[in-house]
Symmetry: D2
Subunit: 342 residues, 4 copies
């Protein structure tokens, strides 16, 4: 089976990573590439690392250009996907890398994004309980945010096994590509290099309700999340340090066992051997999430840490993995578990 795939938003970071992965996918043929301000340019000038596509021209993002493909990946600014998706037939698999269809609660959506709520699509994190079943055969996929991917993979085993109290504290560091490719003075290399800084502190980051929604579903009760994102001086990668109080009677062995049970069969999650901790360098460019967990006996907290590549497992890799699941292809097709290190 050969799948013809279009990418809308081909000149940005998510679009570039989608193309990098799709080029290596044995069942995908890359169709139309579209962009906004980049329309009319050769891709080689915009994404010089995508050698085989250098001569491709970027076309304007229209339903017309995107029509006639088996799969359409949308890597658009938030709020733009619904209008495009509506014009694509119900047979087309639409994979939205934006936030538009992630949140079930319209009030949450309005509060954090400000535009009308578009709806909810199956959530593209196959590792979550029930997610694979929802993805199979679906023609619409909402790819998770990069931070939620890292945080959910680190914490869902603890909540699925009812080991943790329902208040999690998360501090995560992300590489600068998570902020996108639109020019901003505070994202200049001179500002980012040699510096760590927080943003969206105090519950204000848009990924917070997405974490709450999905952890609560796993835990079958509301889980509160204190989330502080920080910008780290690196191009890619998320390191999420997550913790929650262990419920009474929970021991280190229970924690380890729950994580092994939840993660050992997952092809793209690697629970590290005890004592070894994740590093973002090890997953650079790969679809692997590295996870480690410990119980701090002094404070009685479960500490779970994950490392992912925000553009791969956190965006484009998760999108391709979910596409595979939706289309009935082997879930790992075209995806690598191997990082580019050092």
């Amino acid at each position: 089976m050969t799948v013809r795939a279009a990418v809308a938003g081909a000149s940005g970071y998510a679009g570039g990573e989608l193309l990098r992965l799709l080029l290596a996918h044995p069942e995908v043929e890359i169709g139309v590439l579209t962009g906004q301000s980049s329309a009319g340019q050769r891709l080689g000038a915009l994404q010089p690392h995508l050698t085989p596509l250098a001569e491709r021209e970027v076309r304007p993002t229209t339903a017309d250009a995107l029509g006639g493909h088996d799969v359409v990946f949308l890597a658009l600014p938030h709020g733009r996907s619904a209008a495009v998706a509506e014009q694509l037939g119900g047979d087309t698999l639409v994979v939205d890398c934006g936030a538009d269809f992630r949140l079930a609660d319209a009030t949450d959506w309005a509060r954090f994004y400000g535009s009308p709520h578009a709806g909810t699509w199956p959530y593209g994190l196959p590792e979550l309980p029930g997610a694979r079943a929802a993805l199979a055969g679906s023609r619409r996929i909402a790819v998770p945010g990069c931070y939620p991917t890292a945080v959910l993979l680190a914490l869902f085993p603890a909540y699925a096994a009812q080991l943790a109290e329902p208040e999690a504290v998360v501090v995560a560091a992300s590489g600068a590509s998570g902020a996108g490719k639109a020019p901003r003075a505070d994202l200049l290399g001179s500002e980012v290099m040699g510096s760590m800084r927080p943003y969206g502190v105090g519950g204000g980051h848009r990924h917070t309700p997405e974490m709450v929604q999905n952890l609560s579903a796993v835990a079958r009760r509301r889980v509160a999340v204190s989330f502080t994102p920080t910008l780290a001086p690196m191009p890619r990668g998320i390191l999420a340090t997550c913790s929650a109080a262990a419920r009474p009677g929970v021991g280190a062995h229970d924690v380890r066992a729950a994580y092994e049970k939840a993660l050992d069969a997952e092809p793209f999650v690697r629970l590290l051997p005890e004592g070894q901790w994740p590093t973002t360098a090890a997953v650079y460019g790969s679809n692997t999430a590295q996870i480690q967990v410990a119980l701090d006996p002094t404070v009685g907290r479960i500490i779970a840490i994950s490392a992912i590549d925000n553009l791969t497992k956190g965006t484009a890799g998760g999108a391709v993995q979910s596409m595979n699941a939706a289309l009935g292809l082997p879930e790992g097709l075209g995806l690598s578990t191997i990082g580019v290190a050092p």
Copy 2:
């Protein structure tokens, strides 16, 4: 008054930073510089940024070499300071940048450091309640660890005002110089650049008991600390993201007022205007700690974040500030509040 100062451990990062600051101190004359493996070399080959001291020769670290100075700074590996300090007269101001005299509890010391407990000296963080009085006139100073400096400055106002529950969660990112200059494969540039990674997770880091001891003293009850340090791809800087549940009835205004009261008069702590968050770049090379605090209303947690330069305010700057306090000099003499940015 001219103070003659010796530095033991002049070839390391802490020693180099001490010398950088002492060179700018109007009342200090730099005396003997000592080292271990570097003895016999010119400082210019070891610390090429210290131009005015380039021709100075490093001498072996002996009590003999260090004797005859008004102040002796010890930047030695943990466990070595007591033996040197004993041989220096009681009139000499000994400023220990190591951990040897920081912990009051011998059991904590033994558990985290493994060597015999040497005792406790006045703690060189003048901003803590009572610390200035203890430093004035003292001839022995225990300089705080770099992480404790960042964390205590971020959290002590909340605990001094009894606003927070006694369990803090801290995730801090440090630049690589915090790990010192001794060669290690995991600290090579190739390993550090482009990567974030945790270490000492689950309560194992040696700075944990130091935070617990000092926060507990401020709060007048035991404060537990869940501390996760991470290594960030930058040479200098600590960003500490600290949080604790707000006690019942505490509002955002109470929090702001407590921080203003505790910090506004401090020359080396800058509580930022509301809405502006700390960045390590802004304090690069300076003795300033930038602080911001917020109350996350959804989860009811106080989030306090600090940024310091681990080598300046976190080590050598704190040492010089405490020396000034001990000698009765203006506390800010020779120290800058201005970072080197971008």
Copy 3:
């Protein structure tokens, strides 16, 4: 003597560095700060490292605002300085950090900058033969470009002593702050980190005629320069690798002697001991230029390498040093030779 100084362009990188240095200058009082798009904002939001000036408001750049100061520093986009300078009295010392008054040849100016030629002012590189005399008492100073500063300091001793053939090859790496603070997609942290790239290749960089003009003046014949700038993944610093064929009969001893003669008395140039090579880290934030030179016997070329901080010695430090020279103050007043490392 207290000098009242205004800074036009206070929100950019050059302006910020000027203020960082002026804050440490014992004879300077900082007057009005002006900006374009930043007018009306507090400086603390724009330059958070300049703690003592955090509450200062940026005013619009007008001759009116800048009038009434002893010194006015212009850190404006190229082509804007002449109009401002004209409106400032002849008694005011105007120090232009832009290119407007650097080039003597109107054709060169037109070819590389495209706007009308404004004239030529005394060149703010006191180390060049004759430059100090021209600066003394002057009320107009053209601060050199950052690359020319690095390249001229590395090469002028060879040409002053007639040791080198008149064709130099220069490849220089600069930190990203050299490109300024205006947002550009190709200067985003994600693009800069982990990457080296050339630009302005083949003689197209605007600093080329400035190098040619000044090396030719020193050599007393036309010196051609093949100049390739590259962007390096660091915030600050220039490393300039310069070479030229040695003239017949020139030996290693002649080269060393010429550099010692030209540089040994210079307070802000450090010719390193033989065998030690410059590093940009050693001059971070300092006004020092580190220089080393060697004669490659196999190819018969003199290799001279310099490291400077592009914002300090390469811009704001050179400006302050030249201001001191013009005003008859000690040339090093308020300037440090000590880098911030590691």
Copy 4:
């Protein structure tokens, strides 16, 4: 055909990159992995990015362990390969990533490496004139050095077409992985980040004679090379800025035509469209060399710039490409032209 491949030196950077590429090679089965100090450890602790090999144990490097494979890759310190190769049968394809068999001149070898000369093997840079023929069917391959790979690809077209005078000036910047994984204080992250520095200046770098040998062979007369390597603050990548005087009468069109002729058919060299310059980020993790060339009309020099990943095209990728050539497999099998960016 399935090829069984062993890797000696599996815990280092070259060994890790070899394994990363071999894991993606459809005709290779990874056999024994050996190391020196790492023997006995699991690979997952040493190379955490190589997820599929995490449980593999590293064995001591002996001929016994390496025997019985179709291909043996040697990623050993210089001077160790000959002894191992001797004990492997003549049927085994031995691919040496060290320098031992690169230099034809025993005097050069002795001068730069100091140990007895081992001989010369076919040179693993298939793009050089005549190299493919020498590799076909060979059972011994000397993989080029990383700098020579970058420099030869940039300059050989000019010399093959007799366009350039026989003296080249090369300044190259390399990421820190080029210096290997053995702990050294000057390669610590704190020393490397934020800094550029030269080393091996003045003709002293070991890769100089390798460049001279191969450029001279292409030019059919001796080509001198002034080579200055610099260490850049990035993990991977080489940017080589190369220039040489154009011979009389050579025009820009001649230069472009020569490069197109030499490079257009090469699958792993991309001559960029005119006006676009190479960047190391674009080739991160890929086997592509990006090349651009220009003629600076003012100084009459050909400027050729290349960007490669020092570990991929510069070491392990070149090794696999050459293995393919030697074994009669499609030369690009298992290798990617796509970089991991941003």
